[in-house]
Amino acid sequence: MKNPIALTNEEIISDLLPQKFGRRGMIWTGTLLFIALVGLYAYYRQLRYGLVVTHMRDYASWGIYISNFVFFVAISLVGSLITAIFRLANVKWATPLTRIAEIIAVSAIVFASIIIIVDMGRPERFTNLFTHGRIQSPIMWDVIVISTYFCISLLLLYMPLLPDLKIMLRFKETSTKALQKLYKFQGSFWKGTAEQFKVSEKSITILCIAIIPVAFSIHTVTSWLFATTYRPGWDSTNFGAYFISGAFLVGSGGVVVAMYMFRKFYHLEKYITEIHFEKMGRIVVLLCLLYLYFNINEYMVPAFKMKKAEGAHLHELFAGDFAIMFWFAIITGLIIPILVLLFKKGRRPLPMFIIGIMVVVGAWFKRYLIVTPTLLNPFLPMQEVPASYHVYFPSWEEWAIAIGTLAGALLVITFFARIYPIIPIQETITEQHELEEK
């Protein structure tokens, strides 16, 4: 592990400039493109034949798409944690992670919007939300807050990028003509003057302040889509905090996975060090404990009272049809990460990477468990519906679309890292100078 203090500006720039895809990069991108195209074909079938190609019926009217939507919204929250909260708290070690967190946030929120339109079945009716929407509906609040969060996240991604664009324009030999045109369009006006830095710093601080309440709102409002509906498992005042704690956890898990991948394949060991994994490990274990606390609240209180419908719902989760998935999500996404990350050896890069994957996978299944079992156990059961309506397992089209959107989000991150530096160059140089002065 090399200390960044020992590096020259040229070394930093050379290390952090975007790199062309190698063989592995091409295979990775090709695989993602293939998965995304299969998803696109499945969506064509859904448009062609209607939502009947899914297995959503009168009972499970929200299925894998909405689970995926909640997952995307959750993971997007990490942008506000790492970029905004850490920046405002002057947490300097997190600088190499800010852009990773922010591009995860932007790609996730883009695909959260896409998957909700997919769930609508008739995408052209999306405009009805604006022409006939009621501001009283949490769905309207979600639309407003997601679009707002997307804009702020995009600005928070763009503004710190300006000094790096200038650097990339300087090193023409490392990029293509098309990319140079793009950099020029986006940041040729950045000259790096003191005045420009002053305005930029002030704007970034305002963005960091603005994004925190919006980020909290986005996931609180998403939780209200459920909590304002009178159903077993959703009828909870705990839902906002429960969702936000889970969102910070899955987002941090996602950043850990991305940190490891970029560190390994872009050879960034000098910038994303073991100290970063150690510190992120502490954050992840804290968030695991926090989420576990809210889970205990969420399940223990109704389990103590065991009202009939709530009891049936809890039985489904703990010992019924969803028990395997439930205990998998809890053990994989919470218990094992806590047990591993409490020890220093568990906070090394490779164990952290594995734990990060477990947290993200566990979190995806947890979202599925929040959405589907509740819909299958309503307070007032429907009458005279076919027996098949009482169970839900997604069709291949639903799986293909859901996995396709996940691949799409990873593609956005992959292409971003190909075009722009995934670790802020200018900020790394500035921080190094500050350290040298000290």
């Binding site: 707002t148 804009c151 600005l155 950045w190 003057t193 305005v199 930029s200």
Partner: protein
């Protein structure tokens, strides 16, 4: 070898033609219905097997007869709808035949078509009546239903008839009067059930509709009887209800406090975003001026 191939090639089209000429099997069934001891009708249901599943046959002519397949006994000539169903109401012209005996057989007949063979079906029933009565002593409410069949001289109770008994819902289903889902008539053809549903919303006068329904009985067919009773809670519509500004109102009647909060937040946050966009323009201008 060549001869075998030639024989096979010649045989394939003829086998295909033979398969085309095989007509599909048609399933025809008849169901008898009587509502409130007055309206008598028959529903004909046509189905055929396509891809191992029964599918309705639409647009198929079906003739319904009473007791005998003759023009004088014709109930109605029908055409099935998209669900493969067709309904024939017993016409006044057949009253004499209807009154003559206590048991009748409805005959359904379809003529052969290019696709289907000719088919017949029967539904035999006994003439019946269903009577609903209620008693209430203020606290305990009781519903009793009698099912009777005509034996040629008299109306006698029919035992062991299963029925649903309760309150008619808007959806057409029945909210059971007591704890059981269904009830069965005793040796006298009677069912008595305590009405245990409390605080059920009724119409403006508190009326609810009690209903007793016998379904697919082999002897009696489908019988329904209804009675309106004032056992519900009177629900008087509030004329100003839909004019309120509430969370459940239309978009034009949003509560003012919500409008104020929502627009304040939206204006505040989007104002900040617009301000930041102007800051980017300012950075651009600063860059341009420093370059010049």
């Amino acid at each position: 070898m060549l001869r075998a191939v030639t024989v096979l090639l010649l045989a394939v089209p003829s086998i295909a033609l033979a398969q085309d000429s095989v007509k599909k099997e048609l399933v025809l069934s008849l169901s008898y219905y009587m509502n409130n001891n007055r309206v008598v009708y028959i529903i004909a249901n046509t189905k055929t097997k396509i891809d191992k599943k029964f599918q309705p046959v639409a647009g198929l002519p079906v003739n319904i007869y009473l007791d005998a397949d003759s023009s004088g006994n014709l109930v109605e000539k029908l055409i099935t709808d998209n669900n493969g169903l067709a309904k024939a109401v017993l016409p006044p012209a057949l009253k004499a035949i209807w009154d003559a005996t206590s048991k009748h057989t409805f005959l359904g007949k379809t003529e052969a078509t290019k696709v289907y063979e000719s088919t017949t079906a029967e539904a035999s029933i006994s003439k019946s009546r269903i009577v609903i009565d209620t008693t209430s002593d203020g606290e305990t409410k009781t519903v009793s239903v009698k099912v009777k069949a005509f034996n040629g001289t008299d109306w006698v109770g029919v035992p062991d008839v299963e029925m649903k008994l309760g309150v008619s819902r808007i959806s057409g289903s029945i909210l059971s009067a007591g704890e059981g889902a269904t009830y069965t008539t005793d040796s006298l053809g009677e069912v008595t059930a305590e009405f245990k549903i409390i605080a059920l919303p009724g119409d403006e006068k508190g009326n609810i509709v009690l209903v007793a329904k016998v379904e697919e009985n082999e002897q009696l067919g489908n019988l329904t009887i209804e009675k309106t009773v004032p056992w519900g809670i009177a629900e008087k519509a509030d004329p100003g209800f839909f004019d309120q500004r509430t969370l459940w109102s239309t978009r034009f009647r949003t509560p003012l406090w919500l409008l104020f909060m929502a627009y304040s937040i939206v204006i505040g946050v989007w104002g900040t975003i617009i301000y930041l966009v102007f800051q980017i323009i300012k950075i651009k201008k600063l860059g341009t001026s420093s370059a010049s």
